[in-house]
Every structure is written in structure tokens, then in C-alpha cells.
């Protein structure tokens, strides 16, 4: 499985990262270097092995379904690059 320029452009788009046209080829080469090395895992027999997502050994704890936080608009907006009237401001998304 080798990554080409088109694939890099596609994953860059999925990741919302602007990768300039002249960087697509070098990035593809870097990623292929890493992916070739990762392919070593194909040697390992993993039929009937359950994937491991968490090592904690305990189930996720449950809590009461109640509001535990809120009423802190000032703190939520304290670091906003652009805000107005208690809202985040973004470029226009609706025509």
C-alpha cells in the first residue's frame, strides 16, 4: 500500500491541513517511508486476537445524568480569537 500525491491531498483535506502542491510529493515520500516500516506488523499472526483499546482493566465509570458545569460563558470565551455578544465568530457559512 503506497501513498501517492493524490492520496496525500485527500488525507490533508480530511485532516483540514493545507499542504501546498509542491509539498505533496515530499510528504508522500516521508509517509511511505513510515508506512513501509510499519508494514513489519504483517508478519504477526493476529487471527482470533481481540483488538486492545484500553489497558485500564476497569469498565468506564457511570455517573448520574445531571448538569455538573455551566454558567461560565466568560471563561469559555476567554481565549476566543474573535467573538461577539457571547458567541464565537466564524467566516460566513450560510449564503
Amino acid at each position: 500500500m503506497s501513498v501517492d500525491k493524490t492520496t496525500v491531498a485527500k488525507i490533508a483535506r480530511l485532516a483540514r491541513l493545507n499542504v501546498p502542491e509542491d509539498r505533496l510529493e515530499p510528504v508522500a515520500n516521508e509517509l511511505n517511508g513510515i508506512l513501509d516500516w510499519i508494514a513489519e506488523l504483517n508478519e504477526v499472526a493476529t487471527d482470533n486476537v481481540e483488538p486492545l483499546a484500553s489497558v485500564t482493566g476497569h469498565a468506564l465509570p457511570m455517573r448520574d445524568d445531571v448538569v455538573t458545569d455551566g454558567d461560565c460563558v466568560d471563561r469559555v470565551l476567554a481565549n476566543v480569537p474573535e467573538g461577539a455578544s457571547g458567541f464565537f465568530v466564524v467566516p460566513k457559512v450560510v449564503e
Binding site: M1, V3, T7, V8, I11, A12, L14, A15, R16, L17, N18, V19, V27, E30, L31, G33, I34, L35, W37, I38, E40, L41, N42, E43, V44, T46, V49, E50, P51, L52, A53, S54, V55, T56, G57, H58, L60, P61, R63, C72, R75, V76, A78, N79, V80, P81, E82, F88, V90, P91, V93
Partner: protein
């Protein structure tokens, strides 16, 4: 003032309780030290007013006889921990100007125990790196110098933490370890670093890299100081659903308990091509020390060890690509204006993230994308289980494992390597513990032919930090590691 800087935290606590020194004196000495060693670039932000204010309050509590565990101890905080009202950037341009309105649980625990914050410490951007060279603030420098007096990396990602503790510009420091980011820099800088069991310290308020692997831990100059600091950092926290309620053992007592009767495994797979021969010799020496102290050393096998690094380089970027999706230029940090919302996201993230972070986001996005998820991500999760099973199996017969911490000593800043995979090899001995969630500790145990520190790593069963401290206590005593770096406060800088 240099004698104040030579006190361990345990000694400083005793001197503070005995009123032979004050928290303000100790803190002032460390503020001076941090300024004196500024060329090492291990702090990205000094907070002297804040520190003196905290020290004054510690002195009041000391006067009233209300001292807590770390009362009056000045420490540095890796810039990955959110600190109320104090800028937190993860050493990334994308968090430029971010001032958290909340405090991480770990740092809140430290302040509740009376510790004093000296400032925020340099690290790799979003903790992604093994040399502290991906930081937006430039590299932190190792206070140790090689034979040629060239600048060496302190390791990473918690490079500023290790450098500051070694240079005596912090008495202790927090770090985080996702693939070795505490243990590797501790080894490179000749200090003690612990990655606790996954779940031991709350991740709440720590800038996330790879959530199933990230764990906070202490950097100190002695093993006993490390146990002291862990006691303050660790807690069960409802705000982190993976935080554990298994009580911490009496780790302070464990430090002096010795290893008589312990069974310690030596994994035969912990070797690699190009390993520094001094590392191999030190590993053998460590086994001899432990045997002389009454432990039984046995060779064990962890057959999937060689697959740990490639497994890690699927799982960690996958989780990172998801965690870093939040940096969008809307709610905090950097924003690059553009015509449309999507263009704003893309421009902001391209300008805000450095090269290594972008590479990992792209890899992570790829291995999670439709058509590749099973071949990469699911495969890695399956191999992760096999790696964990290797450890589960050996820990039915041994109490701890002894391995080298790193394949080599610290290397030169700016060492040019085109192949990112070569840089990943730094973490070959540390990554398996993250994948399995195990506690691991790096203890300075000797120097190589160039006079640079080398560390031994002790790995243990989940929630059995006490056994690590028993082994580390013996190694520390046997190694009698008294060498100090040249570029330390009170020395040449």
C-alpha cells in the same frame, strides 16, 4: 546559594520543617538558578512573582505547623499542563496566547500539597518528539556536554523538565510520557524519571497527545524525591474516566526496602543493532548490583518487543489526529483569517502546527481512513494485545524487569537525520510499557566513555510502583551516581 540547590527535596523538606531555611529563600535561589541557566532554554516561561507569592504562603503555613507533603518545594511544570491564568502552549504556535481558565488535576494536587511553581518548561510540540527539537520555542539544551563541548539534546518530549532538574534550575518537575517522554530524557540528563501505571495520575487538564498512552509523572534528582512527588501527583479523579481508584502503595518506605528475595526478569529481546557498548555493559552491571543485593535475576522473553515501535507509530498518530482536531482557530489559540470556514481551518492548522505534528496528523488520518482502518489501526490494536500478553505472562514469574532506558547517550542538537524512523528508535525500550499501561522508571546508573549519563529502566506490574522504587533504591545506592553536568546553576553555564 549553591548549597541550597544541592539539597534533595526530602532534605529541603526537613530543613523547612526545622526552620533552618525558608521557602522564600529556597524559591529565590531557584529563581536565580533558572535565570543563570537561561541559555539552556529549558523554561519557556518563568513566573517569579507567582513563585514568591506561593513561597510566602508556604512560609506562613510552615510557621503555623501546617506543612503539607511538598510545602515550599519549587518545581517546574511541563508546558503541557494547563495552569490557571498562566500561558500554556504545548510549545506549539497554534496555542499561542492561550491562557487556561482552569488548572490540571495534577498541578492542582501539587499546589494543594504546598509546592511552588517556578514556571513552564520546554517540550516537544504537543509532546511529539524525542529530542525537544520540535518545540516552537526552539530546542532545550542538555546541561551535560560531551567531550567536544557541543550542545546535546536533553531528550524528549519532556526535555525542558529533565534539563531543568539536572541543571538545578528546578528541584523537581512534572513530565508526561506517551512513548518514553519521561524515561528517555531522564536517562539523557542523569535524573530519575517515572512513568506511573496508566491511570495513576489524572490526565484531566493535560493537553492530549494519545489518550490511551499519555501518563504524567515526576522528574527528580533522587529516587526518594521521586516517590515523594508521585504521592502528591497521583489521585483518583472523576474528571478522567480512565483514572484508577487503586490506592497508591507506601512508595516512600519502598525506596529503602531493598530487593532481597525479589525475582527480576532480564528480557532477552531488549537489544538492538548499533547499541552503545557502554549501555550493554551498564545493563550487565545493574544485574550484578541487584544480584549482590539479594535479588534473583532470570532471563525472560517478550517475543513481540520488536513490533512495539511500529504498533506505537500507528496508535499514537491515530489518537493524535483525533485529539488535535480541536485546534480549529475558532475557540482559542492561533487563527489565520480566510474566505471560507474550511479555508480558515486549513490555513490555521498549516500555520500553527510544526512539521512533525503535521506528519503525525497525516499518518493518523491515513490509518484511520476508510479502506485502511482494518489493515493498520485494527491490526495495531491486535498486536498491542499480544505485547500486553507478553508482559502479563512474564509477570506471573517475576516481580519487575530490568532493561536499558535508551540505546545510546544524548546526541548533538541539530543532528541531521532525513529518515524519521531513525529518530523513532530512541524510544525502542520505552514504548512497550506505554502500550501495556505498565509503570516504568529510569534511574541514572553510570556514564559512557564520553562522560555522559546513562539510565537503567525498571518495569513493573500495573499499580505496583512500590516494586520499582525498591529496585531503583538499590540501583541508586549501588551506582552512587554523583557526577554533575557542567552547565548547571552554581557551576559553569
Amino acid at each position: 546559594m549553591s548549597d541550597l540547590l544541592d539539597l534533595s527535596a526530602v532534605e529541603a523538606r526537613a530543613a523547612l520543617d526545622a526552620k533552618s531555611i525558608s521557602a522564600t529563600e529556597l524559591t529565590s535561589a531557584y529563581i536565580d538558578a533558572a535565570e543563570q541557566t537561561a541559555a539552556l532554554n529549558n523554561y519557556v516561561l518563568l513566573t517569579p512573582d507567582h513563585a514568591l507569592d506561593m513561597a510566602a504562603r508556604a512560609d506562613q503555613r510552615l510557621a503555623k505547623g501546617e506543612a503539607s507533603l511538598l510545602e515550599g518545594i519549587p518545581l517546574g511544570v511541563k508546558d503541557l499542563f494547563c495552569t490557571t491564568g498562566v500561558a500554556t502552549t504545548a510549545c506549539s504556535r497554534i496555542l499561542q496566547g492561550f491562557t487556561p481558565p482552569y488548572e490540571s488535576t495534577v498541578t492542582a494536587n501539587l499546589w494543594a500539597e504546598g509546592a511552588v511553581m517556578l514556571g513552564k518548561l520546554n517540550c516537544d510540540e504537543f509532546a511529539m518528539g524525542s529530542a525537544n527539537e520540535t518545540s516552537a520555542f526552539g530546542p532545550a539544551i542538555n546541561p551535560w556536554q560531551g567531550a567536544e563541548n557541543i550542545d546535546l539534546v536533553p531528550g524528549g518530549s519532556s526535555g525542558g523538565s529533565a534539563s531543568a532538574v539536572a541543571a538545578r534550575s528546578a528541584l523537581m518537575a512534572t513530565g508526561t510520557d506517551t512513548g518514553g517522554s519521561i524515561r528517555q530524557p531522564a536517562a539523557f540528563c542523569g535524573v530519575v524519571g517515572l512513568k506511573p501505571t496508566y491511570g495513576r495520575c489524572s490526565r484531566w487538564g493535560i493537553v492530549a497527545f494519545a489518550s490511551s498512552l499519555d501518563q504524567a509523572g515526576p522528574f527528580t534528582r533522587t529516587v526518594a524525591d521521586n516517590a515523594l512527588m508521585l504521592q502528591a501527583m497521583a489521585s483518583h479523579d472523576a474528571k478522567d474516566s480512565t483514572s484508577s481508584d487503586v490506592p497508591l502503595q507506601d512508595v516512600m518506605t519502598a525506596v529503602g526496602q531493598g530487593v532481597k528475595g525479589m525475582k527480576i526478569g532480564v528480557p532477552r529481546e531488549y537489544v538492538m543493532d548499533g547499541m552503545d557498548p557502554d549501555v550493554v555493559a551498564l545493563w550487565q552491571q545493574g544485574q550484578d548490583w541487584l544480584r549482590q543485593a539479594g535479588a534473583e535475576l532470570v532471563e525472560v522473553s517478550l517475543p513481540h518487543t520488536k513490533y512495539a515501535l511500529p504498533t506505537y507509530y500507528i496508535i499514537a498518530p491515530a489518537e493524535a489526529s483525533s485529539n488535535l482536531a480541536r485546534y480549529d482557530g475558532v475557540r482559542y489559540g492561533l487563527r489565520v483569517e480566510a474566505e471560507s470556514l474550511d479555508q480558515m481551518y486549513e490555513a490555521t492548522r498549516a500555520a500553527g502546527f510544526g512539521e512533525e505534528v503535521q506528519r503525525r496528523i497525516l499518518i493518523g488520518t491515513y490509518v484511520l481512513s476508510a479502506g485502511y482502518y482494518d489493515a493498520y489501526y485494527l491490526k495495531a490494536q491486535k498486536v498491542r494485545r499480544l505485547i500486553k500478553q507478553d508482559f502479563d505472562s512474564v509477570f506471573t514469574t517475576v516481580d519487575t524487569l530490568l532493561t536499558p532506558a535508551t540505546p545510546s547517550a544524548a546526541f548533538a542538537v541539530g543532528r541531521k537525520i532525513d529518515d524519521p524512523v531513525v529518530n523513532f528508535l530512541n524510544d525502542v525500550f520505552t514504548v512497550p510499557a506505554n502500550l501495556a499501561g505498565l509503570p516504568g522508571m529510569s534511574v541514572p546508573a553510570g556514564v559512557n566513555a564520553d562522560g555522559l549519563p546513562l539510565g537503567l529502566q525498571v518495569l513493573g506490574k500495573p499499580y505496583d510502583e512500590a516494586s520499582l522504587y525498591r529496585v531503583a533504591g538499590v540501583l541508586e545506592q549501588a551506582a552512587a551516581f554523583t557526577a554533575t553536568p557542567t552547565r548547571r546553576a552554581g557551576g559553569a553555564t
